[in-house]
Structure formats: structure tokens, C-alpha cells
Symmetry: C2
Subunit: 231 residues, 2 copies
């Protein structure tokens, strides 16, 4: 029997209209859909594509533990990959739904690592959150010979500072509980005024505000900072 295909489907930053035609077509072909969510929260990726899923079709929900202890996350991906593999063995395609793009900080890499050698894999790229954020902020990210650094806020202070010093345009992702640390680093480098905070880019509750005017110290996971190149 032909094995099913492992499909990594980027669903974009939040607005269901930022799905690609290809993602919609693939989902309407009726694969089993799979998605990852942490801490018992509903999957944002699944809610973005909900209208394109046929009701009653089986779904694979990979629930990561609340506290992301590496061993527990590892075990959850192992178990999720096994469930996906079982469907692929029966010849049915599985579409793993990924916020943004599957190969940019996505949990899809975890599943691809476990399944990509045995099963034919196709990846549908998606609109990345930081370009949606630039659109929301009406700010060109980079042009001409400028460089762009995409940095996770989880980096230690020193590493953040080094990367910030070298790049023209910067996007800092995964802010969450790292916002206070990032703010301190930016402030020390005199970059606070250039930073724009964008929460839930392109979604209904999108929010754009200068970091200097932001009064919170803890941000949602799907928030980021943009630093357009100095003029």
C-alpha cells in the first residue's frame, strides 16, 4: 500500500484570509489534520483553518505540557509522531497545521525530524508573523543592502545585545515573559525609541504600539518587536 504524505502546512499569522490558496486546497482534500498546543490552550492554528475542515474528520491533537520541560516535550512529540505515523501507514495524508511558516520556529521541525525520513514530506510555506507585523505597523522592514536579524527573545542578554548591534532591521519573536529583559537590553543600547510592539499581527485583536509607550512587562506568546533600520 502507498504510504500517506506528511504535509507541513503554514497557516500564516492569524487572519484566516492570509491562508494561501494551496493551504486551503490541501485542507479541503480532507487529510487528517494534526496540531500542537501547549498548556491545554486551544490550537490557534486550528481555529484559523476551521472553516476549511470537514466536520467529523479525525484530528490528532498533540498536547504539550504546561511547563515546557525538555523531556516531557520530547515524549509528547514522540507520542504525537507515533499517532501520525499510524495514519500515514494506512495510506492517509496528515496535514500538520503550523502558525506562520512550518520551517521558521515551528514545532513541525520536531515531527519532521521523527517522520521525514520514512514518509514523503511536502511543506506549504506560510506568511511569517514578522512580515504581517510590518504590514500592521506600516513599516518597511528592510530594503536595498540592509540586513535583517530574526531573533528569539529567549536568547540571553549578551547574545541579544551582540545581534542587535550588528543588524539593520530586527524582528524579536516569542516575547512572552521575556519582554522585560528585552526592554532592558534595548534601553541600554539606546534602541528603545526605534522598537515597535505588535501583538497578534493580522488577527482581529491586533495591536500596534511603540515599545516606549507600552506599560506591560509580560506579553502574549504571539507578540513581537520590530526595529526598522535607522533612517
Amino acid at each position: 500500500m502507498t504510504l500517506g504524505r506528511l504535509l507541513g502546512v503554514g497557516v500564516g499569522p492569524g487572519d484566516p484570509e492570509l491562508l494561501t490558496l494551496k493551504a486551503v486546497r490541501i485542507l479541503r482534500e480532507g487529510p487528517v489534520v494534526a496540531y500542537v498546543s501547549a498548556g491545554g490552550r486551544p490550537s490557534m492554528a486550528r481555529s484559523i483553518v476551521a472553516e476549511h475542515l470537514s466536520s467529523g474528520s479525525p484530528e490528532i491533537h498533540i498536547a504539550l505540557p504546561m511547563r515546557l520541560v525538555p523531556e516531557l516535550a520530547h515524549a509528547a512529540y514522540d507520542e504525537g509522531a507515533a499517532r501520525i505515523g499510524a495514519v500515514l501507514e494506512r495510506g492517509r495524508d496528515v496535514a500538520v497545521l503550523c502558525m506562520g511558516d512550518p520551517f521558521l520556529y515551528g514545532s513541525f521541525a520536531q515531527l519532521f525530524e521523527r517522520l521525514g525520513e520514512r514518509y514523503r514530506t511536502e511543506v506549504v510555506p506560510g506568511v511569517a508573523s514578522f512580515t504581517a507585523a510590518a504590514a500592521a505597523a506600516r513599516t518597511p522592514l528592510v530594503g536595498r543592502s540592509e540586513t535583517l536579524a530574526v531573533l528569539p527573545a529567549t536568547l540571553p542578554r549578551d547574545a541579544l545585545a551582540t545581534h542587535l548591534a550588528g543588524a539593520d532591521g530586527v524582528a524579536i519573536l516569542k516575547l512572552g515573559r521575556h519582554l522585560a529583559k528585552v526592554r532592558t537590553v534595548l534601553s541600554e543600547l539606546g534602541l528603545l525609541e526605534r522598537a515597535i510592539y505588535v501583538e497578534h499581527a493580522s488577527a482581529a485583536d491586533e495591536r500596534v504600539v511603540r515599545l516606549a509607550d507600552l506599560a506591560i512587562d509580560q506579553a502574549p506568546y504571539f507578540s513581537l518587536l520590530l526595529l526598522p533600520p535607522a533612517p
Copy 2:
């Protein structure tokens, strides 16, 4: 009379199926479309959306000179912006078609700079070429706490070397006639083996090959290199 809206519409990397639902909806609403092309070549962005345009609708073609002398390019953008402005003044929307994403190395920034203050602007983000290239190469670009550097191949050798040394994952865009220079820098840094060359990602003539196996010294404009993080 209400002024028209300036729309920056990302059309993605090449595959017409990687258009977003939003881009398609906006184009089907019948704005005047505008696009930039250089050296008398046909616009790739226009060919991607061709099936969604109504025939007979006026179009604005901004032709950049073959040799991109800054003053001549400047004058072409000035003239293009004036033509777009004239349409917006009559209350009609203008959709500027942009390969990839409008705010990532797009010529849209040139028009936005000239028109964005007077006219209401909306930007529709698109799938970036380098994520489509990662999908084509079946290679995760970055995960966890890794950093991504997006670098234009137009940078001088020293700058390229500095940025390459500091980042985990790297995408080098706009290869064109800079391929030989970039290859030399990568070779000197011992990074040649890690580099993957992707031409026309997601398009019908997509091509993926290890840089070490690539025999050419000059590449098309829409080609790039990916360096996934070291394992």
C-alpha cells in the same frame, strides 16, 4: 471626493497557489494594478496574479532602466508614483504587486515613501522567498533559540563574513552576479558544504542543489542560498 487607497500586495515567491486569499480578493475587487520591472523584462509579479485580473482594466507599469543607476531609478519611481497618485486622486484604489512580501526588500517601499503620507495605505503580507526555498529544500530554517540572518548578496565581502560568523541560520538573497563573491566568502569560512542553492523557489522551474555541486558563477535574480544551522 474620497481618495483611493494605496495597496501593497505581496504575491509570494512564484507559485500562483501561494497567493493569499486576501491578495486574491483584493485583486478581484478590480483596483488599478501597478508593478515594477527592470531592464525591459516582463513583470513576474504580474504573471503570478494574471488569472485574477480583469481584462481591459488599466495597469501602471513602472519600467526601471537596465543599469540601475540610482538617479535613473529615482526618476522612474518619481514618475511611477505620480501616475499612481493621479489614479488615487480620482478615488480609485491602486494595488502595487510585489514579489514575496512588500516590506521585505520590495520596491514597494520606494512608492510608499513617496505616497504613504498622503494616501491611506494597506499592506497585504506575502510568503517570503526564503521560506519557500526552505520548503523546497525540505530544510528547517531555524528553531528554538536559533537566530536567522537574512542577508543581501550585494553586501561587501567583509560584511558578509561578519554576519555569517554570528548567525545560526542564514538566507542570502539577490544572488545574481554576486554568486562568485559569496561562494568565495563561504569557502573561506568553511561553510560551503552547508549551503543550499535554490532557484525560483515554488515556481515551475524550481531548482534545488548543494552549492558545492553548482557549476555556475552567475545566478538569476530570484535565486538564493540557505545555510541551515549547524547540527
